[in-house]
């Protein structure tokens, strides 16, 4: 069922690109390809090539488990808290929390690994390359 949904989504994307390309961007404009030229051709081909999988369905080679979602949640939390605590502190906290909760590390070990990794990132990207990371209320 999941495979069929993926194929349908691919087909919808192809159809959307083809239809929008044709109706809004133009296939052929002023004796040359318009903005919709490539989207119409490729969108149509994508739509056609996704049909066999819609009809037959596909089997996944990996079973999706709850753990697969953890990195997504982690990254989203980093985005959410970066503007509050600053990106460097958030990344450090993320490392420490991840190591304690999922890695089963002791708090001191997790703190050493988390702080040292973040310190390397800070030196390379912030001090050496001057990347303007979100600083948060603490200004770090």
């Amino acid at each position: 069922m999941g495979g069929r949904i993926v194929s349908i989504l691919i087909a919808i994307a192809g159809a959307y690109w083809a239809i929008t390309g044709w109706t809004q961007h133009g296939f052929w404009v002023n004796k040359g390809p318009g903005g919709g030229f490539l989207p119409v051709i490729i969108g149509t081909l994508t739509l056609l090539l996704s049909f066999p999988d819609i009809l037959k369905g596909m089997k996944s080679v990996v079973k999706i488990e709850r753990v697969h979602i953890y990195p997504i949640i982690g990254a989203l939390l980093v985005i959410a808290f970066s503007n509050i605590f600053g990106m460097m502190i958030t990344l450090g906290l993320f490392m420490i929390v991840w190591l304690i909760v999922l890695g089963k590390y002791t708090i001191p070990r997790a703190a050493i690994i988390g702080i040292s990794t973040t310190a390397i990132v800070y030196v390379v990207f912030k001090l050496f390359l001057h990347v303007p990371f979100p600083t948060g209320f603490m200004g770090i």
């Binding site: 004796k31 390809p33 490729i42 090539l49 990996v62 990344l91 890695g103």
Partner: protein
Amino acid sequence: MDIFQYLLQGFSVALSFQNLLAAVVGALLGIFVGGLPGLGSVTGVALLLPITFNMDPTTGIIMLAGLYYGTMYGGSYTAILVNIPGESSSITTALDGYPLAKKGLAGKALFTSNMSSFIGGTIGILILTFMGPLLARVGLAFGPPEIAAIILLALCSIGWLFGENPRKGLVSTFIGILLATIGVDMALGQPRFTFGSINLLEGISFVSLVIGMFGFCQIMELMTEKQTIQKDMKKITLRETFLTKSEMKRIVAPSVRTGLLGSFVGILPGAGATTGSMFSYILEKRVGKNRDEMGKGAIEGVAAAEAGNNATAVGAFAPLLSLGIPGSGTTAVLLGGLIMWGLKPGPMLFQQNPDLVWGLISSMYIGNLISLAASFAIIPFLVYFIRIPNSVMIPIIILLCIIGAYTESNNMFDVWLMIAGGVIAFILTIYQYPIAPLLLSFILAPMLEFAVRQSFDISNGDPAIFVRGPITITVLSIIVLFIISPLIIKLFKKNKTIEIKDDDLAG
């Protein structure tokens, strides 16, 4: 003066203390920058450019050139060790490099990468030395229709060559092309498929997409992998990373042929090291002896990708120096630097500034050797990285993915894109859609669209322009052969089976 005398003169310039130091610093910085996800050669050269303004132009350009090809070495490290290409040109390196690392052969993959980078780079430098100006003129014969035909050939190839199922490979290729059309249409100034987002007006950031689809997707896969530390990696030494005689033999031929191809791709306008490494990988996948193993962890795959991208990086200097036309994004930044130093790249540069041109070319021989030595020296430290357990490695890679995506344009939107890319790649991967064609077509699609439009502009809308020149006719014939050959082979095999069955029945 003949070329050898010019070269000797160049070596006398390049071997001066300050120029040698510039080459060393440039190469080392390049290896470092290349290894950092999110920072490519363009960013590296752009960051170093202001520092070189106070230097002598020859010293400055030697340092920048060193950084450029140094990034080609460094870009492969993270691609091999953690499946995050440090440089976009290392996508193809990751295809075989990471599976090799998973088999416990990270050291050999790194050795292959360094060795083939050196071979490819040396071929590129030799070609630049002896045939640079001539090749640059050949490159000019490739106008928009020829470039469009070549890109079309590449697009047809990548879908068929990657993964088990060619149809899924093609779907993946097409998704990449569709994603590439997001953003403002540069020819008409019209936003396309931006869904009202200001952040998407510039299109999807390629770096974020690569980091997401390779690195972040990899993390999601690693979450369920229990066995991680390769037992035989624990005591690995530099000696153990060396290739055996037979392994060296296996990488020489791919490195040489892709070095030659990469040098040629380098002279084509607009084609950078990513295109070079991709064409090289495709060539090896078509003609290589071990082509069936490529994509599963073959040293030939790493060799082809790395020799190709280094040769392309050097090849791109030919049109820059002889014609003043940048062959890649990085050489476009270098062109800006040359102009700011008051130099005029073009045919007169060789006559008016021989010290600069030949000093630069000679410094490439030295810089290539320095990069090779430095790369070998850091292999033991790099291999140590793979011994880090998954429980620590996963948050480190997530951190690198976030930093790499953010650094691309200092915008949190790119981090969102990276996560989205990772999720999409994970879903596509578990349904056996290969990811590499998607990323490679994403790079090529804008070039194709641009070349097709230019061709129609030149011909006033007449499609016959694509069958007028000998180059386009040849390339289009290859495309037709390429598409119909699997059908012919299938038909041939079917007839043979029927004949055998008939013989069996008669017997």
